[in-house]
Symmetry: C2
Subunit: 359 residues, 2 copies
């Protein structure tokens, strides 16, 4: 290389600098920069694999960044972490506000670390930008777990679009798994679309409920019960114990009315007191039973593979739709066609065909 | 016009025919043909509006045709029937094979015609091409209803793609309504995707069940129970009466566990013997109650408007996806990317982004 540089200096100009030298200097600088970035990325990945929490947090920040350069680095890091990920069990936790999700996650997380597990807690909450606060934002609600060196709590990724938040959460799971976490708990509120997204990225889906009088399932979005692998009746302490036991019976009956799941897992109902720390062993044992059953019958692996396929297709479909429906011409015409349908001037299919021909 | 033709004849060639004369003759012929088609179409529409069954059948055949010319005529007919449609109540009927759908529809249909209603029976069964027979194909199973002059039975539209079958069924509903039918019964098998499609084109969705021992809801696809506005326990005759009453209790309990529907309608359970013709009045009364409630609270109209919007968007989305995923380049690359994901070489999101850039 040195020899080549010397020969090139024959082209030196009056000002003492050759064109190729400038180019060389620039590309050397670029190369150096690239090398530096790569070294930084390599070092970060190495630290993540060693379980360094600071490195993990930095990588997640890159994943969550909207800066194009950061996103490119993030993609490289996630890609290189992939072969080291995929080993944890991913548990989704949902329930309406007030059901005690944070307290449950804190005591359940502590229970798991006491068993020697490394636990990461994430959240999917696309509405956080509206409610001016993410569901895990108030870390003081989990003050014991926060101090636990085997636990890692990451407040929810911000973002308006659920697709974007889900994307970031999926990549964060990969990073946490590469960092050696055994259990990933993903919290979501039981309203809106987020629990469907979370259901599509976890192995086990857990619905928290309170024991109360009357219609136990009121207030939950339709379809969530069918998604649940377990219903946990929380706050089963003091005067609530009897009510919780009754609710357990009712839910069990309801769950048995459903057709068997593809996993061949019969969803279960458990009661739990997060405050009195009761029922935690049962819940973890149940999840282990689920893992054992579904790994033996092949569902666990198949399900993860289906989830990957789902996210590929889902991401593409969302992009195709967004490209189409955000075209100004289409936006205006769609509104008009819907009015024409309402006035019985056209059918849904004629309108669709007309709109498709606009682009 | 005649004058113009005469002046043009000055350009007459040696052979005695001018170029413009040929053109004129051709366009006159075209015009005549167009006029003839329009007359035929107008006559057909007039006959449909008069309730002529032969004309209705001919129009439905045009809707179901794959011939481009027929489809164009069909579109015109459906469009001109639209202002006269939209007046019937549309009832979806589903249940696993063996539950007695055909017998139920026959006696329920006869019950409705005895009340002075005109009843059309359609079917959505996209799998008919596979099972070598459509669910309503065997008209002998409804031999009484077939002979009833106030009933019209149309076997399922054939077709491999559910989207296409649904499209044809929706347009057939319009034609039947324009022909003055008051009740449209749409039968579908309770497996696969067809009941979701039917649910999206009816006002009231009815699930037929048998009373049996054990888990009553086994064998039905997940989600169907949540769709149902009523569960009818069929074959409640002889020794089955007691079992049916027990099943009614169980289902009622299960239905009450669900959150309230947007329609504010509390789904109901009814028992029925199609053979002994018992319970039919209750079922029709229930549907009338539903119609009254939802027309009063505005849900009925809103729901139909939402269904129209759903079909516009659904048709567009299906076309966008089909255009994208049927590109040979994408097909090959998708397969490869899914393999790369399985080998932990790429993420779902990186794969999606790569595939989107292919087109």
């Amino acid at each position: 290389m040195a020899k080549k540089d010397t020969s090139k200096s024959a082209l030196r100009t009056q000002k003492g600098v050759s064109v190729s030298e400038i180019t060389n200097n620039a590309s050397i600088k670029q190369l150096k920069q690239k090398r530096k970035t790569q070294l930084k990325t390599d070092a970060l990945i190495q630290q993540i694999l060693e379980g360094n929490i600071t490195a993990l947090s930095r990588a997640i920040t890159l994943v969550e960044s909207t800066n194009v350069k950061h996103l490119k680095d993030a993609q490289t890091i996630v890609k290189l972490c992939l072969p080291h990920a995929n080993k944890a069990i991913r548990i989704g936790i949902t329930g309406v506000p007030g059901v005690g999700k944070s307290t449950f996650i804190e005591v359940f997380g502590k229970h798991l670390t006491s068993l020697g597990k490394k636990v990461a807690v994430l959240a999917v909450d696309p509405s956080s930008s509206l409610t001016k606060g993410s569901i895990l934002g108030d870390k003081t609600r989990m003050e014991d777990l926060v101090k636990d060196k085997n636990a890692y709590i990451r407040p929810s990724a911000s973002g308006e679009a659920l697709g974007g938040v889900a994307h970031k959460t999926r990549e964060t799971i990969t990073l946490c798994e590469a960092a050696g976490f055994d259990v990933i708990l993903i919290e979501t509120v039981g309203v809106g679309q987020s629990e469907t997204a979370v259901h599509s990225m976890v192995d086990f889906f857990l619905l928290l409920k309170l024991a109360g009088a009357g219609d136990e399932l009121q207030g939950i979005k339709r379809g969530i019960i069918e998604m649940a692998d377990a219903i946990i009746i929380n706050k089963a302490d003091g005067d609530n114990v009897k009510k919780a036991k009754l609710a357990k019976l009712e839910f069990n009956r309801a769950l048995h009315m459903y057709p068997l799941k593809d996993s061949l897992w019969q969803p279960k109902v458990s009661i739990c007191s997060a405050i009195e720390q009761k029922g935690l062993t049962d819940i973890w044992d149940m999840i282990c039973d689920f893992e054992k059953l579904t790994k033996a019958n092949g569902y666990f692996q198949q399900h993860r593979s289906n989830q990957n396929k789902f996210w590929v297709l889902q991401t593409i479909e969302n992009q195709l739709k967004s490209d189409f429906f955000n075209t100004p011409k289409v936006k205006i015409a769609l509104k008009k066609e819907l009015e024409r349908i309402a006035n019985h001037e056209t059918t849904a299919f004629a309108a669709a065909s007309y709109l498709l021909n606009l682009k």
